[in-house]
């Protein structure tokens, strides 16, 4: 009998694991998910509501793919993991045994015990079901006269953008006194504040949700703000105050849990033959200065790639390279390579450049003195991942990076270039006299 690998969760991490196991072996693979029949891209949920795509378009593989690659799909919810008998109990009473179990169960939206948080019309945005719920709760501005989105993170701003496309007035309640400023340096965060406001969003910085009020039918009718006691009438409340690992069903399973499922760099849990990856995995200690829980798309994918190696006889530790990520704040694209902290780490300093049109800027974090490059945030300008990855590995200085910035530009052809502007600002700040080097394919492909 072929070894049976069961994966719970058909998100990016589970599916990547399955694909790479199939590439390297002939093992029997089953993916169980309660959410949808097929893998879809969670990151694209917003585009379905906005009408850019339909659900079908968010599926990265055609439906025949799974059968062709002999990956069995099972639509069910796993109630319990019985590791002593190597068995799963599915809701509905069915049982399934496994030889190896991969937990790729993702996250769920945070709820902080707000009064009224389970009312009709209050919802997060994580699953396909959440999306369907939003479509029902906020199909148009007549049904939903105002929405309040609570929590100033990446999903929050996506939800705001979504609701705006249906002309629904939105109040955006952000606890911090500037948008996402736990992550973004001040200049950037403030630029995004202005951008949000320019989209006619009622942005409330520095305010907390106090409670959610119901009407006679148990539907949300308003929220109150803690600091002011103000009541804001609304029909929909979006709770987007972060996510946390979706591990409730594992509570008594004997698998060690912290906030997430505890794993070592081999992505093994405390129980033999059970692994955890993606949003739900929590490293005992963050690797290479990363957070113990990394709830982003590409880390799920990388953990999946890595674990598949281990499961097919090539034991491999999860060893992510330099940090990178990207997002989009309404019309402004954002990418980051390396580490830029909201306040420079000790011994580091920031160089910040902003374009006068107020929708492009960069921040570079570097070591004081040596000006060794630590990371970059770029808004409204696209930059080449490969080069930054290399520059970080090579330990380049910021001087070097900025001199060669043309190599790294990734904007479409004919776009205006800002390398010179940026360097001028840098020269003024650091007393250097650098000038941009011409783009060189040789260096790009070096």
């Amino acid at each position: 009998m072929q070894e049976h690998i069961v994966i719970i969760g058909n998100g990016i991490s589970g599916v990547t694991t399955a694909r790479h196991i199939r590439k390297a072996s002939d093992k029997k693979i089953t993916i169980i998910s309660a959410e949808t029949d097929h893998f879809f891209s969670r990151t694209a949920l917003m585009y379905i509501y906005m009408g850019h795509m339909k659900y079908e378009h968010t599926k990265p593989y055609e439906d025949y793919f799974w059968k062709k690659n002999r990956i069995d799909l099972k639509r069910a919810f796993v109630d319990t993991v019985d590791h002593e008998n190597k068995q799963l109990l599915l809701s509905g009473g069915e049982k399934m045994s496994y030889d190896k179990l991969v937990l790729a169960v993702g996250s769920k939206p945070n709820k902080f015990g707000w009064p009224g948080q389970d009312l009709d019309g209050v919802q997060g945005l994580y699953s396909k079901q959440d999306l369907d719920m939003l479509e029902a709760n906020a199909p148009d501005k007549e049904t939903c006269k105002r929405a309040v989105v609570v929590g100033g993170g990446l999903i929050g701003i996506e939800m705001v953008e979504m609701l705006l496309t249906r002309d629904i007035p939105v109040t955006f309640l952000v606890r911090e006194n500037s948008f996402w400023n736990g992550v973004l340096p001040q200049g950037e965060s403030e630029m995004i504040n202005r951008h949000i406001k320019s989209h006619h969003v009622d942005l409330r910085l520095g305010f907390n949700l106090d409670s959610i009020l119901a009407d006679d039918n148990g539907k949300v009718r308003a929220v109150t703000i803690k600091e002011t006691g103000e009541e804001i009438a609304c029909n929909v409340v979006g709770l987007t105050a972060g996510v946390s690992p979706n591990v409730a069903f594992l509570k008594d399973s004997g698998i060690e849990l912290g906030r997430g499922i505890k794993v070592n760099p081999m992505l093994e849990t405390n129980i033999k033959d059970i692994y955890a990856i993606g949003d739900c995995a929590e490293q005992h200690e963050g690797i290479n200065g990363r957070r113990p829980i990394e709830a982003v798309w590409y880390t799920g994918r990388m953990m999946g790639e890595t674990l598949a190696q281990t499961l097919t006889g090539n034991p491999t530790a999860y060893n992510p390279g330099h940090w990178f990520n990207s997002a989009k704040f309404m019309d402004i694209e954002y990418q980051t390579y390396g580490w830029v902290f909201s306040k420079p780490k000790e011994g580091n300093t920031h160089f910040h450049w902003m374009h006068k049109d107020d929708n492009k800027c960069i921040t570079i974090e570097m070591q004081e003195g040596t000006r060794k490059f630590v990371g970059i945030n770029n808004f409204g300008i696209r930059l080449r991942h490969e080069l930054f990855d290399r520059w970080l590995t090579e330990g380049r200085t910021t001087d070097y990076v900025l001199e060669h910035l043309k190599d790294a530009n990734f904007d479409p052809e004919f776009y205006s270039h800002y390398e010179k502007d940026i360097l001028d600002a840098y020269n003024a700040a650091y007393g250097t006299s650098l000038s941009p080097k011409k783009k060189s394919w040789k260096r790009i492909f070096a």
Partner: protein, 543 residues
Amino acid sequence: MKIIKNLGLVIFITGLAIWTASIFMGDFTLQQEQLDSFISEKGIKSELVAQKISDNVVGKKLGTFAFTGAVRDALAQNNDYYDAQIAKYDAAKEWDKKGEQYQYRINDKDFQAFSFSLAKKAGTGFIVENKGLMWFLTFGLGILGALMFIFPNLVLLGKPGIKNDHVYHEAATNRGWIAWLVLVYLVLFYLVLYFNADYVVNWTFILDPISNALNGGDASQWFVYGFLYCVIMVTMAVRMYIKYRHNKYQIVRTTSVLFFQIVFAFLIPEIMASLGKPGYDFKNAFPLDYDFFFEWNLDTLTQSGGLGIFILVWGVVLTLVIVPVMVYFFGKRWYCSWVCGCGGLAETLGDPYRQHSNKSMKAWKLERWLIHSVLVFSLVMTLVTLYCYFTGAEAFLGINSQWIKDTYSFLIGAWFAGVIGTGFYPIFGNRVWCRFGCPLAAYLGFVQRFKSRFRITTNGGQCISCGNCSTYCEQGIDVRAYAQKGENIVRSSCVGCGVCSAVCPRGVLKLENGPEAGRINPTQVLLGNDVDLMDYVNNKEAS
């Protein structure tokens, strides 16, 4: 703003309605002299035709369909009569007599042209007398309405950025009833244009003044088509400019394609014609320009002195040298989305429908079969034609030259490129012809795939598999399938429209021309993960 937009829509629809209704307007009264001069001009031998038309048509005041119907009837009766004669002599085995009869028949294919020419002479009434006013009521209102519909987007669509909100909510862009209506209208338009031009002779009256000014002659249905094409492209380009105003690549590209359509495809040929030269579209490369090597064209060119010879040489050099060299440096986009007229219409009128291209593996398979078959078809046709041209034979390789040319013109030239290629925009997307049918695209595609500096670079590991790129790729390329693996996109069918790069919310895609080495990148594992899988794979093979 919304009011202006809606008003614009009403005005546009009014213009369109008058345009459509104009087909039925006015009367046709053919005078005997007009008929006589036509008969002698065309050298028509059958007296029966002249007789029948004289009886049934001349002097009568007829509507469009009554007139064209009567003319076509007369032609059919004529043919019936001579068919009977032929059968009779055949039975009597009087071969000479039988042979004589054929010259009196009118080729069935020419009915519409025959009827068109007579109608053009016979037209009277409101349209003919009010060409300027009619122009305003049709083109004028159409353009005005469309612009009033489009311009408010500058405000309504909000700040510059990607504007695909509600594409899948609206009946016009989500294969709803509006889309089907547009499809029916477009298909009917092409069927009339290609096969029943005599029905729309009224349209040509409306453009006579402009045609006269440009080339000194009255407008034909092809003039109408060319003019309409330019007008539609310009108007819809305004829409492109607004929609993609944040994206300079789109702006420059749209301007280029407009320029080539208006100047190269429309003005230059018209001006050449007015100078008594053969009208030639200098950018239209064989085998898209499938009749370039047809006898009539070779004859015209060889008889047109220096210019004709220049065109002949240019046409050959364009296809054999310029096209592939440019594709080597810039990818096939230099032609397909910067220069070509078919591409130009697809990128302007067709832009609202780009999301309908089919991304499935099956469609890709079909694409490769179809487009390469058409390429082979066009080459075989040309080979046969040229052989017959130089040897005077009727057939080559057992293929009749006239037959293959007719078949190609009908199936590929009219049906595939026109009726299906454009008519089906609203349901199957804007590049059906370019993707499945265009033989030039197939040729360019080979070069692009195997010998070119063009690629779409994928930005390392940044792709989040959202699917915007694939959805909006008009060529049905599953861009995401490459991007999410960190693989560059090097596909023969990519026309380099740049929209995948524009709609990507994570800045993952860049169209660029660079060294060939490194164009196709091996990507077993995404950038960012320090597992060196390639090492692993290689070691495993070694051990």
